[in-house]
Amino acid sequence: MIGTAIAFYLFAAITVAAGFMVISARNPVHSVLFLILAFFNAAALFVLLGAEFLALILVIVYVGAVAVLFLFVVMMLDVDFLELREGFLQYLPVGALVGIILLIELLLVLGSWVIAPEAAGVAASPTPAITAVDNTRALGQVVYTQYVYLFQAAGLILLVAMIGAIVLTLRHKPNVKRQVIAHQVARTRETGVELKKVEPGQGL
């Protein structure tokens, strides 16, 4: 038990510290690296909760794809982050004020938190107990049956995102030579070879 607690505080502290470093590091590449650290520790927290599927998805998707993409973008775009940060201090007082007001309001709301006795019954999920079935299998049992509607809806949203990206950015430039394999295969000796009669001693 004490081991779990120590592990929790360790991972949680590193997550928070890495998150802080993401926004305070001067070098954007360092920021992305700290972001990866934060993702890893968040994944470790999921493992502590017994949600190993989510933990692995977090590592594969966020670290494997998203963070690497960020790295590429940061390196390729060459955005001057120092310039973007100019005037940061100027906005700090107002930003801090808004943040503090929001925090106080949140505390006020959370202060009234009571767990309703019925809540447990209402939230009864179709997922079986964690001891009976591991959570990858449990997810698999509901995602394509009970939640098929939401799953398909999410798919449609991604489809729209893809159409949107293509519609708004793809431009067909004329004069671009593309490889058309059919044309290559259909080439015959007649179209590919030209015979020239070269007179002796004259060259081409």
């Binding site: 009234s112 809540a119 809806a153």
Partner: protein, 483 residues
């Protein structure tokens, strides 16, 4: 462990949605694999798809059916709203046919995106839980962002799309935050269980916070004050048929969602949400009326007009009675029809060098195109709420419901702001009939615009003779929502 596998849900109630999704993907594939496919082919395909879906909706039984674990519901109310959305979307699609060819945005994705946005609206109308609500809303919004920026070589259109996207994402964030608070304090995402928990436990401040945030997110979608800032800029910047689409179908869907959330999930907290709705209604009516006075661009003017019309519709919602909800539904139908007619006139404001949008360009329309000027003037009188045109009846039913519910101040403010609004609608009539004539527009009007304008004008003028079908239909829809 075998018992743990849940059974496959019943797909049949969602048949119109499934058909629409499959149809949209089929049109997309057709466009992609056919070389040099333009928007007209997919637009006709999409219109055929809409007709098919409408036929399916009409023959669907009226009984209330829930499926997908209670996340999705169909009943008389969803049927009414979906048919209205289909009507508005189909009208906008027809109106875009000439415009997209002329303005160089003739690409097959445009109708496909409108179909996907309409599908999102269907999902919003049928949402019976917080997660399905968000999914539908996001599908609709994402399609709308892309459509707003569809004219990508036009800086105003791209600016409109970007502005809409950033503010829309903020609104979605607020809605999600509210949804998480509601889930946290009631332990459920299904509207019926939320209502049951609140009934037994009474209210608490956390849920009220959640309602405020959810309402803020939804008010953004119907562009009600104080979440209206994006409306004039987006309406002005987006291509005109897109503006016509924005002003119709998405508002109907978001209003349907507000009605369902408030009346199905939070019936026991009516006193709390009524204050919010009253405030939003008053602020929208007043701001819409006063801010429109100074406008010189007709699309901006229609943006403020739509803000105030949403305020009027909210008056019926504030009443919180079946009569009030019936008033909202009647108001929405009349608003959608009038709006389609007005946008037909705006789309006909076309000179040789291109489309114009200034109000002063309408000068002398009464001499150049007397019939168009007459119908436009009538639509303006109707928007202002002059009897016996249709717009008067829309206002009449919501204000009557407000008075019956004892909300006298709200009704009085509504009538006063409608008088202020009459000023700028009548100004357009004055410009068309009495100002020094400007250069004539390209004539004749494209056939499809004339047809829609004619239908809209006919409905507006003769609604008072035979209003019974609409009133009975709205009554039945309300009966399904508020048993």
């Amino acid at each position: 462990m075998e018992n743990a596998i849940t059974s496959v849900p019943d797909f049949l109630p969602a048949l119109p949605e499934i058909l629409m999704a499959v149809g949209a993907m089929a049109l997309l594939m057709y466009g992609v694999f056919r070389k040099s496919c333009d928007a007209h082919e997919t637009a006709y395909g999409a219109l055929a798809l809409f007709a098919l879906v409408a036929a399916l909706l009409v023959i669907e039984p009226n009984a209330s059916i829930e499926t997908f674990g209670g996340m999705f519901v169909v009943d008389g109310f969803t049927k009414f709203m979906k048919l209205l959305i289909l009507l508005a979307a189909a009208a906008a699609m027809v109106m875009s046919l000439t415009f997209i060819r002329r303005e160089g945005m003739d690409r097959f994705e445009f109708p496909v995106l409108i179909v996907l946005a309409t599908l999102g609206m269907f999902m919003m109308v049928s949402a019976n839980g917080l997660i399905s609500l968000y999914m539908g809303l996001e599908l609709q919004s994402l399609s709308l962002y892309v459509i707003a920026a569809f004219h990508r070589d036009n800086t105003r259109a791209t600016e409109a799309g970007l502005k809409y996207f950033v503010l829309g994402a903020l609104a979605s964030g607020m809605l999600l935050y509210g949804a998480s608070l509601i889930y946290g304090f009631t332990g459920s995402v299904q509207f019926a269980s939320i209502a049951a928990v609140l009934q037994s436990d009474g209210t608490n401040i956390g849920v009220i916070f959640g309602i405020v945030f959810v309402l803020a997110g939804l008010a953004f979608k119907i562009s009600a004050v104080p979440f209206h800032m994006w409306t004039p800029d987006v309406y002005e910047g987006a291509p005109t048929p897109v503006t016509a689409f924005f002003a119709g179908a998405p508002k109907v869907a978001a209003m349907a969602l507000i009605l369902r959330v408030l009346f199905v999930a939070f019936p026991s907290m009516e006193n709390e949400w009524q204050q919010i709705v009253v405030f939003i209604a008053i602020a929208s009516m007043l701001l819409g009326a006063f801010a429109a006075i100074g406008q010189s661009n007709i699309k901006r003017l229609m943006a403020y007009s739509s803000i105030s019309h949403m305020g009027f519709a909210m008056v019926g919602l504030a009443a919180g009675t079946p009569e009030g909800v019936r008033g909202v539904l009647i108001y929405l139908v009349i608003y959608v029809v009038m709006n389609a007619g007005v946008f037909c006139c705006i789309l006909a404001m076309q000179r040789k060098e291109g489309y114009v949008e200034g109000i002063s360009e309408l000068a002398g329309l009464s001499r150049n195109q007397p019939m168009v000027a007459f119908v436009m003037a009538m639509l303006m009188f109707s928007l202002a709420g002059v009897p016996p045109l249709a717009g008067f009846f829309g206002k009449f039913y919501v204000f009557m419901a407000a008075v019956q519910a004892g909300l006298y101040p709200l009704a009085v403010i509504g009538v006063l702001s409608s008088v202020v609004g009459a000023f700028y609608y009548l100004r357009i009539v004055k410009i068309m009939y009495f100002d020094e004539p400007a250069e004539a527009f390209v004539q004749p009007m494209p056939g499809e615009l004339t047809a829609i304008l004619g239908i809209s004008g006919f409905f507006t003028l003769f609604f008072f003779i035979y209003p019974a079908p609409l009133i009975i239909g709205a009554q039945a829809a309300v009966g399904a929502l508020l048993p």
